[in-house]
Amino acid sequence: MNNTIQEIKKPIVNKSLNTLKANALESEAIYIFREVVAQFERPVLLFSGGKDSITLVRLAQKAFWPAKIPFPLMHIDTGHNFPETIAFRDKLVKELGVELIVRNVQDSIDEGKVIEETGKYASRNMLQTTTLLDAIEEFKFDACIGGARRDEEKARAKERVFSVRDDFGQWDEKNQRPELFDLLNGKIELGQNVRVFPISNWTELDVWSYIEKEAIEIPSIYFAHKRKTFVRDGFIWSAEDEVVFRAEDEVVEERTVRFRTVGDMSCTAAVESYADTIEKVVSEIRDSKISERGARIDDKRSEAAMEKRKQQGYF
């Protein structure tokens, strides 16, 4: 019997319904990675330690195997990361043997380039933009690969796979390059850069199913665990980390929770969950009635929040 890719997939298809789909999406992502390396001189993979960027790393490995991933990883560190994420990041980079660049939002604050937000909803999420743009300029990166997906949010639904940003990192959503067939136009001027989104067409469930199928390791906070928490505005917040502002009248209780995204701790809420294995997480996502960014407070600020942040250069 011929050992074709289609056929070899069959034994791997177990209870997860979406597994075969990842084949088309996986090939598309690998194709995009290879276009990046062919069309740009200084690409970088923006690594947050979250499941989407971890999935990107696996796809990049596949695209260039047996060679190493031919570009560095860069982490824009808000200083408000879950400690589990940082430990995970360092271990992964060591295994891959690739260069890791870390740039800190704290440095941008210390240099007076940005001002720390204060109050109940204070977050460093917005401040990342300045640090990111400075790093792009410092290293002269011409392509920044990120794990954003079009299903995450309405403004992302119109994002291109190759999305051109000007010298100020700005996204001009009305003047985007049409993308036809598989043809990706990465021609840019000096000073411009392109944000690249290889998993644009994946949904949250696609990513989780892929993590399951590929047995990709992810940080422990994605799985159900006991945590000291408090509730505000219907969201569950971690009370274990001092970066999350908590008013005195907000009562701390232990709950069994997990995180669906691992952004800045100060704006990432937990969900009550008993899904402590990847299989349970996949079936929880499949049955879920709340969208992933529903637990990201920064999107809630206004209906057009994401679009505004993107125009300013947010990833």
């Binding site: 088309a24 194709y31 598989d182 969208s291």
Partner: protein
């Protein structure tokens, strides 16, 4: 699981966004918080029904003006398939967006307002899906609730559309018709109680039956090399892998291949996907190929089966859809990006412009403006290896990149 890509095009009032919102709602693809947002917005606007169009209209400007401007991607799934909708506006000034949406789609939904019947815009939608060889077209006769679910009106619209179909140059295209009320949910996912006279499939039933892997290609293998993988590690010291995506047909270990443009012959030695080897790769897979002989290959080269050569030429004749504000003029220079090649080119002539309403083509004034479609002759600084678009979509299409602005200024379908 299969992924099926759908193109939709429509104007402000034909209820396209409502149809998409309805599809999402009926397939339980709207999450609670999204549904909540739709409820709130609907109440705020004083509607006594759920305004599903709010599920799709993304950008602020669009919400303000109540229209769709660009190409938005919408995702939903059933236990059988995953669907990606490329949603575009339908006005003539958005022809380029419609072409973009149709370029990656296997199915088109063409909306017709039952009260208005076949209008100029219907012609254009069908023309574009003809030109781009979109395999399946579902004609959605919407707002049937506003015409008392009248069978005669549906049949009349169907007959008018059939006349349009007589103009089609793409006879293999499957066209089907569904009477629908997106607002009330008739024949979208669930069968209508109001139209017992219609025994055909609902929209969703149609979509579920379509074979997502059928792409209308002739089956000739085209493997454009994206990049060459040379790890230079101890273990893989002599490894030279050609990385690319396989189009058109399957490729097996042992197959005799010709390398373009050098016309060197060799055989497939190994096919890798990540760290595993395979005896055969199917079309659509991104693989790494090693050859039996040491052949000098770089990005832009192409592997084909030895007796299946494409056309190798320094000239192109193509139907071009123009997408830039700056007109296409004879004598101007553009980069042609065709598969993994980017070649400087000069426009020899714009022969004629083609009306998108089937009224035919007319001799051009030598220029092509934004959203116009025409026959163009192009001279290339070095040869590309191409098929006609009707034989192989991926190897029969290209984009034109403006030398100065780097904009994607046009798309071509090779004759």
């Amino acid at each position: 699981m299969e992924v099926l890509k759908i193109a939709t095009a429509g104007s402000v009032d034909d209820g396209k966004s409502t149809l998409i919102g309805r599809l999402l709602y009926d397939t339980k693809s709207l999450t609670d918080d999204k549904l909540e947002a739709i409820r709130n917005s609907s109440v705020k606007k004083g509607y006594d029904y759920l305004d599903f169009s709010l599920a799709t209209d993304g950008l602020v400007a669009e919400r303000e003006q109540g229209i769709t401007i660009d190409v938005a991607h919408i995702y939903f799934s059933t236990p059988r398939k995953s669907y990606i909708i490329a949603d575009t506006p339908g006005h003539i000034e958005y022809t380029r967006n419609m072409v973009t949406g149709a370029s990656t789609s296997q199915v088109a939904l063409i909306l017709i307002d039952a009260r208005k019947g076949v209008i100029e815009q219907t012609y254009r939608h069908f023309f574009i899906n003809n030109l781009l060889r979109v395999k399946e077209v579902i004609v959605v006769v919407n707002k049937m609730d506003l015409v008392d679910y009248d069978e005669a009106i549906f049949e009349d619209i169907k007959a008018n559309f059939e006349k349009l179909n007589d103009n089609s140059t793409y006879k293999e295209q499957q066209v089907s018709y569904v009477p629908v009320s997106a607002l009330k949910g008739d024949n979208v996912a669930d069968r209508s109680n109001e139209m017992p006279w219609y025994q055909g499939d609902t929209i969703l039933e149609h979509l579920e039956k379509i074979d997502a892997s059928a792409n209308g290609n002739k089956g000739l293998v085209r493997f454009p090399v994206q990049t060459v993988i040379r790890p230079k590690t101890e273990e893989y010291h002599d490894f030279r892998g050609f990385a690319g995506k396989l189009y058109g047909g399957n490729l097996k270990v042992g197959d005799a291949v010709t390398v373009l443009p050098s016309l060197t012959q060799s055989r497939i030695k190994e096919i890798y996907f990540y760290d595993k080897t395979f005896d055969e790769a199917t079309a659509g897979s991104s693989v790494t190929i090693c050859l039996e002989d040491e052949v000098n290959i770089t990005r832009g080269d192409m592997l084909v089966k030895e007796d299946e050569l494409p056309t190798i030429q320094k000239e192109l004749r193509a139907t071009v859809c123009w997408m830039d504000n700056k007109q296409l003029l004879p004598g101007s220079k553009y980069f042609v990006q065709h598969s993994t090649n980017r070649v400087l080119s000069k426009i020899s002539a714009v022969k004629n412009t083609i009306a998108t309403d089937y009224s035919g083509s007319k001799l051009s004034d030598g220029k092509l403006s934004l959203n116009e479609i025409g026959e163009v002759e192009i001279k290339l600084s070095k040869p590309v290896f191409y098929d006609s678009f009707t034989e192989n979509k991926s190897n029969g299409s290209f984009i034109l990149i403006d030398e100065q602005t780097n904009a994607t200024a046009g798309v071509g379908f090779i004759n």
